[in-house]
């Protein structure tokens, strides 16, 4: 029984870390209508910078500045914000598909950079030598994982609460206005370009936080962690869960990660011995079926966005509208 609990703690930690990234993407796409195809770049920037700043010095490896953990994580978040600012200034004039391709290109360039710049990022062998915060003090591995899960859940709760407040605020209405009709927003004196950039940077910093926590948990990062499949996974989580609302984003993250890992576990259990070699390939098919199935069943997502129609008129206006 303790084994199952130990595994669940581990599973929930990763799901929660990915959920933070999904919330960042939700701010981009769900709230502001920005199609960010380069999640992996911001995730990776957070991860790499956290390890470079917070790691212990290792022979033949750059970094190891040994900063305290909060500083290292903040550095990672800040670095992804900086990257988002640079990318945003360059690409946010683009819309929809073009923005998607441009940001995807940024992610591919980032992965290429970390894979080839061996002196800075360790190349394909990645960066290690990160001491997980308080691990030595806690001692017991299960207890450490539990404490780390609590920490990640606290960060997730903080981000959820912060974004929830943001969405219900006037700033949230501004984001939705820009998403729905930019010209109308501009005609009311709002600055869509600046708002879009601010939202892009904020969402990317949230994704960077997720990357930093990911690198902390594994105490290791390599170019294989920032491949396009990560962008796909986060997108799938958002779309299946329901873009545009926080609860949907969270549900999608846990559901898709459960499907991703569960499919492997189920296939390993049920497939006959002769087929064991092919369970890996079958797992991809199964994951695809789950995602497609969920979208066929509920294309708007598991928890669709409830559109808020701001009515300042109150009861009379609504009644007259209904009678029409």
């Amino acid at each position: 029984m303790i084994g199952v609990v130990s595994y669940l703690v581990f599973f929930l930690t990763i799901a929660a870390i990915l959920a933070i990234a999904v919330l960042g993407l939700n701010l981009h796409w769900g709230n502001t209508g920005l199609f960010n195809g380069g999640i992996a770049a911001f995730f990776g920037m957070g991860a790499y910078m956290t390890i470079i700043l917070g790691g212990t010095p290792q022979a033949g490896q750059f970094g190891g500045f040994g900063l305290t953990y909060p500083m290292a994580l903040a550095g990672g978040v800040g670095a992804s914000g900086l990257l988002a600012w640079l990318v945003g200034v360059a690409t946010l004039k683009l819309r929809h598909d073009y923005l998607a391709i441009a940001t995807f290109g940024v992610a591919v360039a980032f992965e290429s950079f970390v894979r080839n710049t061996e002196w800075l990022t360790g190349g394909a062998k990645g960066l290690r030598g990160f001491e997980r915060p308080l691990e030595a003090a806690i001692g017991d591995p299960f207890l450490f994982n539990l404490c780390f899960l609590v920490f990640v859940l606290l960060v997730l709760a903080a981000v959820t609460y912060g974004l929830g407040r943001l969405i219900r605020s006037p700033y949230g209405r501004l984001l939705r206005a820009i998403r729905e009709d930019e010209d109308a927003a501009r005609s009311l004196g709002k600055n869509p370009a600046r708002t879009r950039l601010a939202s892009f940077i904020a969402g990317s910093m949230i994704i960077g936080t997720s990357g930093g926590l990911y690198a902390t948990f594994y105490a290791f990062v390599s170019p294989d962690d920032v491949l396009p499949i990560l962008t796909f996974q986060i997108w799938a989580m958002l779309i299946v869960g329901g873009a545009g609302n926080t609860k949907g984003a969270l549900l999608g993250a846990f559901a898709i990660w459960a499907a991703w890992t569960g499919s492997g576990w189920v296939l390993a259990r049920l497939a006959p011995v002769e087929m064991q070699l092919y369970t890996g390939t079958m797992q991809y098919i199964l994951i695809g079926l789950v995602i497609v199935g969920m979208l066929l069943w509920r294309p708007q997502g598991l928890l669709p966005e409830r559109l808020v129609i701001s009515q300042s008129g109150g009861g009379a206006a609504r009644r007259s509208a209904q009678s029409v």
Partner: protein, 425 residues
């Protein structure tokens, strides 16, 4: 177009039926006296990963034919890593926590083996044996005491290959060599080592070109290497990319003189390029000492898979699994990861009785180990012996291609390999 409810219901019923058919299929729930489990986390969804997993399964079959381990049938739980760290680590964690395996075989890429090692196996006291992770980071991690003696790999350090490659290039009189390397942790290691080794013997490295997997064309990379007109090539590639690069290279008029690593010791490569272009190619590999055990494994493999065991990681995978199973036999029933790891030395003792890597060898070894004696496992990659960091080094062999396969032309004993490496420094 909205799918009707009946449509979705039918699809769900069909899916459920398919899954239950899989579950009810024969070959799953066999009532056995006892079963012990080991876990394997390997990239089975990648083309070169599947043969590695198949060879590991084959080693388990051999052990079961020889009577199993500690009188129990061995079952290998195989999970895919998808070459993603988080998927591989999750699979390993599930096997360690839920299936309670004492040993994990895996993974292949260092980017997956490392997080498994640091977040799953070492904290849980589970032994981890990798067939194919090449990064020097593991040696440093072990030397710093962070692996607690639980980490081993049957992947001989790349230094053996690159130093022998440099020696061959020098003997053949090449003055300028261009290097093509696979752009992953193994390839990046190889290019660093081989460039240093080639320079030490006075050969100029005119270009070191990374090759990324799965590109439709390598013309740009080949042109870059072609310009300085090198005498020969050094290749640290896997067969699929190797074929594409070499064909492009030869068709653009590049030199046919090549020195290659053991990853290209593959029938696919020979057939894909064509033997008439491979006359001037020499390759290096790690080898067994000149005993008949080396051919014992090859014959065994050929009788099972109907082809030669040529391909990256196959022999290493076999040895990794066999050493693990023999160590479990030596450690006794119900032993945990640390106890099994402690018995690896008893299985690879140079002073122990030599045993071959087949069914008879396993039976002989089991009996000796149960009696408390030590054995010297003669594996597919050589007389495997781990140093205190879990690394192996091995004697080397030089090979060339023939019309029908591969021919080993020269054997270089371990002492000579080490002496040459020392001279290079």
């Amino acid at each position: 177009m909205k799918m009707s409810h009946t449509g979705i219901r039918t699809a769900a019923i069909v899916a459920a039926a398919a899954l239950s058919a899989l579950a009810a299929a024969p070959g799953i729930a066999r009532a056995e006296a006892c079963t012990i489990r080991i876990g394997a986390v390997l990239p089975t969804s990648v083309d070169w990963g599947r043969p590695i997993a198949a060879t590991a399964q084959f080693a388990v079959e051999v052990a079961n034919k020889a009577g199993g381990v500690n009188g129990c049938k061995v079952e290998m739980l195989l999970r895919d890593t998808q070459t993603q760290a988080k998927v591989g680590v999750d699979a390993a964690k599930a096997m360690v926590d839920i299936d309670k395996v004492p040993v994990i075989l895996g993974a292949v890429s260092s980017g997956v083996s490392m997080p498994i090692l640091t977040s799953v196996t070492v904290p849980a006291g589970v032994m981890q044996m990798s067939c194919c992770s090449s990064s020097t980071s593991f040696t440093r991690l072990a030397a710093a005491g962070k692996t607690k003696g639980l980490w081993f790999r049957t992947f001989a350090t790349s230094r053996v290959q690159t130093s022998m490659g440099a020696m061959l290039a020098k003997e053949k009189g090449y003055k300028k060599v261009a290097v093509f390397y696979k752009n992953d942790d193994w390839g990046q290691d190889m290019v660093k080592l081989v460039s240093a080794d080639l320079k030490s013997v006075g050969i100029e490295v005119t270009a070191a070109v990374p090759i990324n997997d799965g590109q439709p064309s390598y013309r740009a990379e080949v042109t870059k290497a072609l310009n300085p007109r090198p005498d020969a090539l050094y290749l640290a590639l896997y067969p699929k990319e190797g074929i594409a690069v070499v064909r492009e290279w030869i068709s653009l008029g590049g030199s046919r003189k090549m020195v290659v690593a053991n990853s290209l010791k593959s029938d696919d490569f020979r057939k894909g390029v064509g033997i008439k272009y491979l006359g001037d190619l020499v390759g290096t590999d790690t080898s067994s000492p000149r005993t008949k055990s080396a051919s014992a494994f090859v014959e065994l493999y050929k009788s099972r898979f109907k082809k030669e065991p040529n391909g990256p990681g196959l022999a290493n995978s076999y040895d990794a699994t066999m050493v693990v199973l023999l160590a479990m036999q030596a450690a006794g029933k119900g032993a945990g990861g640390a106890a099994i790891a402690a018995k690896v030395a008893a299985v690879t003792d140079p002073g122990g009785t030599p045993v071959e890597a087949n069914v008879d060898g396993f039976k002989k070894a089991s009996a000796l180990l149960k009696a408390g004696k030590t054995v010297n496992y003669q594996g597919a990659t050589g007389a495997v012996k781990f140093d205190r960091n879990g690394d192996v080094s091995a004697p080397a062999v030089v090979w060339t291609f023939t019309d029908s396969g591969v021919k080993e032309t020269r054997y270089i004993a371990l002492e000579d390999v080490n002496a040459f490496i020392a001279k290079l420094k």
